[in-house]
């Protein structure tokens, strides 16, 4: 499989506080990776360093053809950041749809402003994307006229509108009412099958178990466990991981360690 994303020694500090410690990571094209871990473990910061909403303090990131190196002394130039970021799409926990635009305009705005597509082109694509997330009939609604789940699906269509190489999901269902979670996960599962590369930060372990090719467990700014869902959920040797999994999905993890002393 082709390597799509490579992180080497990526660190991020907020002031004196290290949030990411020397992260190494390689992701193949077309895979779905789920990142789990307790809050404050650096999951969201990891995503924000990949789309450069946060600029890493050190290390290097390669995505597709582009590579950026980071150092505390100087930030990469804004043009390089923009070009790099345009290869990514991000879905936020609180969807952050633009409230003054309809669903369709939300999905058109990126291509029209950042990629300079004509409005007609952008609209044709946006309509197709909204169809893809099952919201073709809702294109002229404003975000406040949509349910939380529909809003988040528009958020997914918007993230895909820039035709990113990788889609990043930052707890996409955490702010939703429980009965709305399913429709969003359904869209994500379909995406995962369509061959797009996804990184999903989530607490939905069941989703992870069914959809993920790979699960990362993060704790205190480090990747503590890395493997298939089965390996991480059921057979982890790390006490922290087992505790976390059993608290989040009691029936999911094996209650007894797979090994004994």
């Amino acid at each position: 499989m082709t390597l799509l994303l490579t992180l080497q020694g990526v660190t991020k500090r907020f002031g004196d506080v290290p949030v990411l410690k020397d992260i190494d990571l390689e992701l193949s094209q077309g895979t779905t990776t789920v990142v789990i871990g307790p809050s404050g473990s650096g999951k969201s910061t990891l995503l924000n360093c990949i789309n450069l909403l946060e600029i890493p303090t050190g290390g290097s990131i390669r995505l597709g053809e582009r590579q950026l190196r980071f150092s505390p002394a100087e930030k990469p130039n804004p043009k390089a950041i923009l070009a790099f970021r345009r290869q990514t799409g991000t879905v936020f926990q609180g969807n952050h749809l633009f409230p003054h635009m309809t669903a369709l305009e939300n999905v058109m705005i990126g291509p029209v402003t950042a990629r300079r597509l004509t409005r007609a082109d952008a609209q044709a694509r946006a309509v197709a994307l909204l169809e893809q997330v099952g919201l073709g009939a809702y294109r002229d609604r404003y975000p406040y006229q949509l349910s939380g789940g529909q809003q988040q699906r528009v958020g997914i269509a918007r993230a895909m509108s820039m035709e990113p190489q990788i889609l990043l999901f930052d707890e996409p269902t955490s702010a939703l009412d429980p009965e709305l979670v399913g429709e969003v996960l359904e869209v994500m599962r379909a995406l995962s099958r369509s061959g797009i590369t996804l990184i999903v930060v989530t607490h939905e372990l069941e989703f992870a178990g069914r959809v993920a090719d790979r699960v990362l467990f993060m704790d205190q700014g480090m990747i503590l466990e890395d493997g298939t869902p089965e390996a991480v959920f059921a057979h982890s040797r790390q006490e922290r991981v087992r505790q976390f999994v059993s608290r989040l999905a009691p029936g999911f993890a094996s209650p007894i360690p797979a090994y004994s002393i």
Binding site: P99, T113, A114
Partner: protein, 225 residues
């Protein structure tokens, strides 16, 4: 009320009608509109400067707002009209009142604009950046449309306040709505009557502005957050 008194009142009301109307149309309305328009342009520049990350741009803007907001507009007006001539700068009464209203309007409105821009949640910026927009694209397409709707009610209030404050024009000799009333009051010795009439003019005009403002607000409130 004695019939002579009643006749006198009617006479003064009817003779004051035209001068007050003239004062309104020739001075009060143009002064208000002009200073509001110029004030908004200046306010926009000051608001942006006040938000700048560059301290050499930001601090002068903040100092400007501080000084103008913390001194009476009447003092500013008198400095311009009575003070500047001693430096050889002679401004017409009309220019003086427009300049002083513009200066203070800019300070107050810039704060409204600055606050509106700051009130847009950080997530909106992040979403725009995540779509690959540059800072200025983000500002123009995402932040500004939302911020301007937030501004409208407060700026409407500003205009109503400005409209009334334009009566300071009378203190630099202009026969605006208030100035005209003042002149007639002085010549007829009927201050109570004249200032009541002038007050009624302001009340009617500002009520119309209030209605227009609430209509505008309703039209811009097409979406909710």
């Amino acid at each position: 009320m004695a019939p002579e008194r009643f006749d006198r009142i009617m006479e003064i009301v009817s003779m004051s009608l035209l001068p007050l109307l003239k004062g309104t149309v020739l001075y009060t309305i143009p002064i208000s509109l002009l200073s509001f328009a110029l004030g908004l342009v200046l306010a926009w520049v000051i608001a942006l400067a006040g938000l700048s990350a560059n301290a050499y741009i930001r601090i002068p803007a903040r100092v400007y707002v501080w000084i103008i907001r913390c001194t009476p507009i009447l003092v500013q007006l008198f400095l311009i009209f009575y003070g500047l001539p001693s430096f050889g700068i002679l401004l017409s009464p009309f220019a003086s009142i427009v300049i002083s209203l513009t200066i203070s309007e800019a300070a107050y409105s810039s704060e409204i604009m600055r606050a509106a821009i700051l009130s847009i949640p950080r997530g909106q910026w992040r979403a725009g950046y995540a779509l690959g927009m540059s800072g200025s694209q983000n500002f123009i397409r995402v932040i500004l449309p939302q911020a301007s709707r937030i501004c409208v009610p407060s700026l409407g209030n500003q205009f109503i306040t400005l409209f009334k404050t334009s009566s300071l024009a009378a203190l630099v000799t202009l026969p605006d709505l208030f100035g005209a009333a003042k002149l007639i009051a002085a010549s007829t010795f009927e201050p109570m009557l004249l200032y009541l009439i002038a007050g009624t003019y302001y009340l009617v005009l500002c009520s119309a502005l209030t209605i227009w403002q609430s209509r505008l607000e309703r039209r811009l409130g097409a979406y909710q957050t």
